[in-house]
């Protein structure tokens, strides 16, 4: 995504919606309507603190009809690379933040006969947008929301008020567990399932659904994997001949951007495939962290998703 398309916004309001979770309302600096979006869409926020820049994706929430503002909800994560801490601790009303236009890699499949929405923790953000859109369209849906305890259950009360019986809450603190296998067996043929939450939960839901005979086409998930750091290494860009150092807590894409260069990318979470890059040589194994390439492609080691993956060796040479 070219940065020239970025939208300059200002934080208009900050609301604490649950323990460790804040909602940020962003309004355009120039006025004028923001681009419209559908449930499941996200934007990437660019945040700069001195020399460090974070670009993190956050799902859009709130009324899809209101083009005067976007809302995102952010969990202050313990193992943050810095983005969520920056938003929680350093951003105040009036802070300027530039964002990309909405990108949707997690759209609703509206031909579905029924929609089964499953959220874990902060994964509620795209799922709640989906519930609102389905509700507005008069489509059939159920929402199952698992969360550690009531204090952390962002938007739980609001959703129960809005959608009533269709919302089911499961608090770990009360020992409640999502009855996944039963749910999977009870859905009418033509149901689509959407899951967002912690990585192990997504894996659990998708594995059980596959085992229950669900078609892959009916399963939808979104993971915003914060790329894990690792040993620093050097990346050499064969076409431009430049060598860049990729720091411990930095991605290849971030190193490229820090050098003032641009490389194709979109989701920054290893999901969309836009940043797929040819590997010319690597002096150590590739640490693939994406959900885009197949297992065989990972093993072959000829392609890498530079937004999340790295190299466990001194030098990686890319066709860039």
């Amino acid at each position: 995504m070219s940065r020239s398309l970025d939208i300059r916004t200002r934080v208009d309001r900050i609301t604490t919606v649950a323990e460790g979770i804040k909602r940020f309302d962003l309004v355009p600096e120039q006025g004028g309507p923001l681009p419209c979006f559908a449930a499941g869409a996200h934007v990437i926020l660019s945040m700069t603190d001195g020399t460090r820049t974070w670009r993190n994706p956050y799902s859009l929430m709130g009324s899809q009809g209101d083009r005067s503002r976007y809302s995102i909800s952010v969990l202050r994560t313990a193992n943050s690379r810095g983005g969520s801490h920056f938003l929680h601790d350093r951003v105040s009303v009036g802070t300027r933040i530039s964002i990309t236009p909405p990108i949707n890699l997690f759209p609703l499949e509206l031909s579905g006969r029924h929609h089964l929405l499953i959220a874990g923790g902060i994964g509620i953000t795209p799922i709640m947008s989906m519930a609102e859109q389905l509700n507005r369209l008069g489509a059939s849906f159920d929402l199952h929301y698992g969360v550690r305890d009531p204090a952390r259950a962002a938007y739980a009360r609001q959703m129960v008020d809005q959608f009533g019986e269709r919302v089911r809450l499961y608090y770990d603190s009360a020992g409640a567990k999502l009855p996944l296998d039963t749910l999977l067996d009870q859905q009418p043929l033509g149901t689509h399932l959407y899951v967002c939450g912690p990585e192990p939960m997504i894996d659990w839901v998708l594995d059980r659904a596959e085992a229950a005979g669900w078609a892959a086409e009916n399963l939808h998930s979104e993971r915003f994997t914060a790329p894990a750091g690792g040993q620093p290494f050097t990346v050499r860009l064969a076409r431009s001949g430049r060598s860049l150092r990729v720091g411990e807590q930095e991605t290849i894409l971030e190193a490229i951007e820090a050098a003032g260069l641009e490389a194709p990318h979109l989701c920054r979470g290893g999901a969309c495939g836009h940043c797929e890059t040819e590997v010319l040589s690597a002096s150590g194994p590739l640490l693939h962290q994406d959900h885009f390439l197949t297992t065989e492609q990972h093993r072959a080691g000829r392609r890498i998703m530079i937004c999340v993956s790295r190299c466990e060796g001194a030098e990686l040479v890319l066709e860039l």
Binding site: E109, S111, L184, D185, Q187, P188, A212, G213, E217
Partner: protein, 197 residues
């Protein structure tokens, strides 16, 4: 003259059993019976005990299919009756049911079209083409559908336009596109050949 290499042209990758499915729902027509028998051989296990088989008989395959011993087997006199029964099955079915379709292209297309109305994506339906290549052809001029077309050019059953049968396919209509072949030069109609026997 034939317009090929069109992306919408359906592909049929064969009836492979879904090992995870809890229920198998098969709609078969004519020669498709042989694909169902192959499928049952490949699947083994308790496939037959969880199989609902709806069949529109062709020549002499009905007894063989009945002999398979599917949990539920029904045969029908016409396409409409079979599709009506399939519609009912799809209403009742739950996730974990795998849908299969086999027979002529026109028949598979009608099953896929019906399934779509129940929210089932075409990619999740396992299909195998058997029997005639005859096509359902949609006239882009008058919207009529001409059935069982085996030639490169066919007269529209409604507006009588000589339609060139393209590979361009609509899943919604379950038909191939037919466009007047003489639109530019009304007196020039290329030779008619049987190309979808």
């Amino acid at each position: 003259m034939m317009v090929q290499g069109i992306k919408s042209r359906p592909r049929y990758s064969g009836l492979h059993p879904d090992p995870h499915a809890k229920r198998h729902l098969v709609a078969a027509e004519g020669e498709g019976a042989l694909a169902v028998i192959d499928l049952a051989m490949r699947a083994g296990g308790d496939f037959l005990a969880s199989l609902t088989l709806l069949y529109l008989p062709g020549e002499g395959h009905e007894a063989k299919l009945f002999a398979l011993g599917a949990d539920r087997f029904e045969s029908f006199h016409d396409e409409t009756a079979l599709l009506g029964a399939l519609d009912h099955c799809l209403v009742e079915a739950r996730m974990g049911t795998r849908l299969y379709a086999t027979g002529t292209e026109g028949f598979i297309g009608l099953v896929v079209q019906l399934a779509h109305r129940h929210g089932i994506k075409h990619l999740s339906i396992r299909t195998e083409h058997r029997g005639s290549l005859a096509r359902r052809v949609y006239c882009v001029h008058c919207k009529a559908i001409t059935e069982r077309v085996t030639t490169n050019i066919v007269e529209c059953r409604d507006c009588q336009a000589p339609l060139l049968v393209r590979d361009h396919y609509s899943r919604r209509l379950a038909a191939f596109m037919g466009v007047a072949v003489n639109a530019e030069q009304p007196d020039q109609i290329p030779p008619i050949e049987e190309i979808f026997p």
